[in-house]
């Protein structure tokens, strides 16, 4: 046979290597998929057991205010009302995002538009450092600084939504800032040039062109920060007070899904109602993180359609 033809028919060493590499990659990916699926299955099966096995009404679970899975109310139904925690989680998340957004966007504007060189020199390492600090440190600082200050200013114990908001604000600020910086940086230079050439001032350019065309990216940054705040457990648990009560003001002890979960999970017996109810809280957390993920994708897709 013709030697060239022969060599074409024989699998080369490189082709074999590539095949092996592909198989390895495929294996790793399937492993990850299996792990994720297993986590979902586990959380869902435990979390749903509260409703199927222990016959708790889903609506009651979401709207009742008394959380005391060990005891029964006057009708003989266990007290598993998760509303206080759901409200607490959403409040700290939304407040933290509301406070963090203007700071993050302001800092991002400074770093990209006003003083890129100095901004990058100072703010970049600072934000990177802040991202790396473990959450227990944030919680500890919150406990020793923020809580006493709130107690001094507003009375009460100092624990509560306000303290939780503050700690989360500081925690998500670096993430939201650096993602906002990326969003602003992604705005092509020629948009800015076109705007300036039309007689816009620097502020007009930032406001009318840069912020406007990076809106999807900025929204993604904020949602990312919210997802992080919603899922944060340790630091919040240290400053929020962990009372499963519907918060009536910002400085009375409250709780979040994560704080009740981490507090209680070690003290319950697998398979008991107390344990299953905590898994139901975990299921809510999981579903919310899915929602945040979908939101980010949706924003990304919309932004891609109309860049």
């Amino acid at each position: 046979m013709d030697p060239i033809r022969e060599s074409l028919l024989k699998k080369s060493h490189q082709a074999k290597l590539e095949r092996r590499g592909r198989l390895l990659g495929l294996f790793c990916i399937s492993l990850i998929v299996v792990v994720v699926a297993a986590i979902f299955y586990f959380v869902a099966s435990r979390g749903l057991a509260t409703f199927y096995h222990d016959k708790i009404n889903l609506w009651d679970f979401l709207t009742k205010q008394a959380w005391n899975p060990g005891t029964k109310d006057s009708h003989g139904i266990p007290e598993v009302g998760a509303l206080p925690m759901i409200v607490g989680s959403f409040l700290v998340t939304i407040f933290a995002a509301l406070v963090a957004t203007p700071f993050a966007i302001g800092a991002a504007i400074f770093m990209t538009e006003i003083s890129p060189r100095r901004g990058m020199q100072i703010l970049k390492p600072v934000t990177e450092l802040l991202v790396g600090i473990p959450s227990v440190v944030y919680g500890f600082i919150g406990l020793t600084v923020v809580v006493p200050v709130i107690r001094y200013l507003f009375g009460g114990t100092g624990f509560g939504i306000l303290a939780g908001t503050f700690v989360l604000f500081v925690m998500i600020l670096p993430t939201v800032t650096s993602m906002s910086v990326d969003a602003l940086r992604a705005v092509p230079r020629h948009y800015r040039e076109a705007s300036l050439a039309l007689g816009a001032t620097r502020w007009q350019t930032i406001y009318k062109v840069v912020l406007r065309s990076s809106l999807p990216g900025l929204l993604t940054a904020i949602v990312f920060g919210m997802a992080r705040a919603f899922g944060e457990a340790l630091a919040v648990q240290m400053v929020i007070g962990n009372a499963a009560l519907l918060p009536h003001n910002l400085v009375s002890p409250a709780s979040t899904l994560t704080s009740i979960l981490t507090m209680g999970i070690g003290n319950t017996i697998m398979g008991s109602l107390e344990n299953n109810a905590l898994w139901s809280l975990a299921l809510i957390l999981l579903l919310m993180s899915l929602v945040f993920n979908l939101l980010i994708r949706l924003i990304g897709r919309k932004g891609a359609l109309k860049p």
Partner: protein, 252 residues
């Protein structure tokens, strides 16, 4: 003698150590089209961007010399750059509409000035797009994203966007180099029609375009202005050997 709208004397520009413009003396007559030609890297864009101070945005830049618009030194400390750029508009090489609707693109400059009256804005959109010869193609899709247009249409929308501000001078840096011949000739024809109302300064690598549409031609070479002449004269009887070599395609 026609009015000199922009004058420049002994203009030097340094990018760091590199001297990109080596003493340019060049005046522009109102209601004419002036073509700036020359090989790549000769400083045409650099010079053009001086005229509305777009170079200010770059770091490490040093400018000396005297550039005046209507007799006012545009680099004087008391000159308002924002106002200058409203008088001297610019169209870039790559079409660069904002990622907004066509309508929003055209009224951008008016919005900056705080114009809110819907009738005024509507009229400005129609007249600017008409002057930029792109009204017929866009009148039914004004509220669609400008990015959905073809490159040639985008470039004409960008020109309309500049026209809406009513500048005295329009600078164009190779406005047709990214476009097909039909779009190019549409834009070329449109520029000739705009001459009555505007002074136009255009960088181009297209010799025929310069010869067809401009009144005067300035030939740059290596940061120097070699020849500045009436276009007809420049292309038939150039005064310098370098000019002749360049237009006959012997270098550059």
């Amino acid at each position: 003698m026609a009015e000199k709208i922009i004058t420049s004397q002994d203009v030097h520009l340094y990018y760091g150590e590199h001297e990109a413009l080596k003493g340019i003396d060049l005046d522009f007559t109102a209601h004419e089209i002036t073509a700036l030609i020359g090989p790549s890297g000769s400083g045409k864009s650099t010079y053009l961007r001086l005229l509305n101070r777009m170079n200010d945005l770059l770091p490490n830049i040093r400018i000396t010399g005297d550039i005046r618009l209507h007799g006012q030194d545009i680099y004087a400390p008391e000159t308002d750059v924002v106002q200058l750029r409203k008088e001297v508009g610019m169209v870039f090489q790559q079409p660069n509409p904002f990622p907004f609707s066509i309508y929003e693109n055209v009224i951008y400059g008016l919005r900056l000035a705080g114009e809110k009256n819907k009738t005024v804005l509507d009229e400005a959109v129609e007249s600017s797009l008409q002057a930029a010869a792109v009204w017929e193609e866009t009148k039914d899709v004004l509220h669609q994203s400008a990015l959905s247009l073809s490159g040639g249409q985008q470039q004409r929308v960008c020109i309309a966007r500049v026209l809406a501000v009513k500048p005295a001078v329009i600078l164009l840096d190779e406005p047709t180099s990214a476009l097909d011949p039909i779009s190019s000739s549409k834009i070329e024809q449109m520029l000739v029609n705009l001459k009555n109302d505007y002074t136009i300064i255009m960088v181009t690598h297209n010799m025929q375009q310069a010869a067809r549409s401009s009144d005067r031609t300035a030939f740059f070479l290596d940061g120097q202005l070699i020849e500045f002449n009436a276009t007809a004269k420049f292309f038939t009887a150039p005064a310098h050997k370098e000019s002749e070599d360049y237009i006959s395609g012997r270098f550059g």
